[in-house]
Amino acid sequence: MASGGEITVLLTAMKGGDPNAETRLVGLVYDDLHALARRYMSRERPDHTLQPTALVHETYLRLISDSAIDWKNRAHFFATAATVMRRILVDYARQRAAGKRIGGRQKVDLDSFMAAANPHVEQLLILDQALTRLAEWGPRQARVVEMMYFGGLTEEEASEVLRVSVRTVKRDWSAARAWLQGQLSKTPK
């Protein structure tokens, strides 16, 4: 497991504009979030409901024992976690769509989760691809969707991370949502 100190250093570097820091941070938290996600999906939560914010919050608390972290760091952490969570969900969807066996207990958990959680696995993959394309010409709008949809961030948190007004976040969300849904409905199911 990554140490709290390492995470803090990476967060600070990331805020300072170091592009490698985020990549490394994603790598660090992926395993933790993945493990947590698996736990959440197992029978201990009969409702099979994953709370993205609860998940990220728990990871955050586990990874960062440093109490001096300010809120801005926290928001950035959440934003990074959103990227990770998108990857986790899309990885599951992809495996499921490909009918890949992933073996053992994990498979049962994930399958039952995906079956219950998302009957539209294909839709999720289409959304992921459309979001990647959107990021090419509208990076901020794509990021807003990633943070809010996959990461469960609030408009306020997203505005903090992006350093734009809440109003801008709202506008970005509504435009990106409309565009993405247009892409989804265009694609035959």
């Binding site: 409901t49 709370q51 959680a117 949809y149 509504s174 435009a175 849904q181 247009g182």
Partner: protein, 475 residues
């Protein structure tokens, strides 16, 4: 797409969303000029903007999705644009979703004119008794012919010959391009007396005409008033006459229960809450509530949840609208308070008298001291408790509730709008959601976990209403 082009798409999209719905398309076409591709991109976005979709629900939320599997039609409209329905109507676009189903703009190819096409939810259409009651109400509302009453044409099926296993029952009615009074109030907050008067007088005429024909509206509220731009001002048209009643699901216990508490609680007269039947006087009360909301911007009995407001209403007279709109003319204040008199006999005899009172024409406009008797309060509360007794709640789908009444050891609790996840949680009768302030939904992601943390076992859902019609309750 290039970033520059996307910027332009964003600009046109956001401006188009600020236009009245009927003008959005023309606006986009004008803005995009010769650029047909951009035009179709933005139009698609504007269409999606008004529609629900997978992005409205957390991808991590399993409970809601499970429900979606049984009601797949929720996200996807029944009819795509361009579809020929029942061999006669060409779908133009989806206008919105209501309690009973979806509303489309469609072209009647026989008569070459636009109509509104309203689909009925399978839950209503497949229930023989409900459909029969619905038809009866349509017949009633067709008896009313007035320029301020939305004309209902026909009930039909698609496909017309019923050949497909899945037939959709729909209603055709007058197409009214414009916005609802509810949307206007949402946008403008409150209206000046000068702006409110023409709308109120037209709707009063509509209600008077209906009452003369023996039709009670039962669910008069701002979202049932369409404002149509017309030469020389706005034409206000009252829609959905008498339809509220027919939307009660049938069933032995539910018929009485929902028959008592139908319609929108926010505009419901206190005597209806106490178990009385809908009358001209209860329509007058709803009319007074709408007038109150128009000139003050809020409901006379604002509360966290509709039923809480309803209970307040049965307890006493409405507060003066002047406290919220100090510059309101005294005649308005008195007319509104008279329409909102807890005693039905003391209200105006018909909505038209309200308008006359504003110009000082009607006799006896003085406001009598409100009569709040202990008996009345006891009767109202007894009715609530009666309703509460021994019902359980069953959810079929992922519908959002307007409100729920819950009971556990510590008493009754009334909840407002909330998210599907919480509803499912409540449906399993496991937990308790904290009341949602002012009917505002909680931030995405938070409610389910919070609700479950606040769980108290043995909470029982005793009554609930989904948008537009009551949920199924079994004894």
């Amino acid at each position: 797409m290039t970033p520059e082009r996307w910027q332009r798409v964003l600009e046109v999209f956001h401006s188009a969303c600020g236009q009245p719905p009927t003008q959005a398309e023309a606006f986009v076409r004008a803005q995009c000029g010769q650029d047909a591709e951009m035009c179709s991109d933005v139009l698609r976005m504007v269409g999606e903007h008004a529609r629900g979709g997978m992005l409205d629900r957390s991808p991590w939320e399993a409970t809601a999705a499970t429900a979606t599997a049984t009601e797949p039609a929720l996200d996807q409209p029944v009819f795509p644009p361009g579809q020929l329905v029942s061999g006669r109507y060409r779908i133009v676009r989806l206008l919105g979703r209501g309690g009973m189903g979806e509303v489309y703009q469609a072209e009647d190819l026989e008569l070459k004119e636009m109509v509104a096409l309203k689909t009925l939810l399978p839950a209503i259409a497949s229930d023989g008794r409900m459909l029969a009651r619905f038809k009866q109400e349509i017949q009633l509302s067709r008896k009313v012919s007035h320029p301020n009453v939305c004309r209902v044409f026909d009930l039909a099926r698609h496909p017309a010959d019923g050949s497909a296993p899945e037939t959709t029952v729909f209603l055709t009615m007058e197409f009214l391009p414009g916005e609802t009074l509810s949307a206007r109030l949402h946008r403008e907050g409150r209206l000046s007396a000068e702006a409110a008067l023409p709308i109120l007088s037209q709707t009063a005429e509509a209600l008077d005409a209906a009452h003369r024909a023996g039709v009670i509206h039962r669910d008069f509220k701002p979202s049932n008033v369409m404002l149509v731009p017309a030469a020389g001002g706005t034409r206000a048209v009252v829609t959905d006459f008498g339809l509220a009643r027919s939307c009660a699901p049938s069933g032995e216990t539910t018929a009485t229960l929902t028959g008592t508490l139908m319609g929108t609680l926010d505009y419901m007269a206190p005597e209806l809450l106490a178990g009385g039947s809908a009358t001209v006087a209860s329509d007058v009360y709803a009319f007074g509530t709408v007038a109150y909301k128009m000139v003050t911007g809020v409901l006379p009995f604002a509360a966290d949840a509709p039923l809480a407001g309803a209970i307040l209403r049965s307890k006493g007279p409405a507060p003066s609208p002047k406290t919220l709109a100090p510059d309101l003319d005294e005649k308005w204040e008195q007319a509104i308070l008279r329409a909102l008199d807890p005693d039905p006999d003391r209200r105006f005899a018909r909505p038209g008298h309200f308008i006359k009172a504003l110009s000082g024409e009607a006799p006896g406009v003085s406001v009598a001291l409100p009569k709040v008797t202990r008996r009345r309060l006891v009767a109202a509360l007894a009715a609530v408790i009666l309703l509460v007794g021994g019902y359980r709640y069953a959810v079929h789908g992922s519908w959002m509730c307007q409100y729920l009444v819950l009971r556990n050891q510590s008493g009754l609790r009334v909840l407002g709008d909330h998210e599907a996840g919480v509803e499912a949680c409540i449906a399993r009768q496991e937990c308790w959601q904290p009341p949602v302030e002012g009917g505002v939904q909680q931030p995405v992601g938070a409610p389910f976990a919070d609700a479950c943390q606040l769980c108290q076992r043995n909470a029982e859902v005793v009554h609930g209403q989904r948008h537009g019609f009551a949920v199924e309750v079994s004894a």
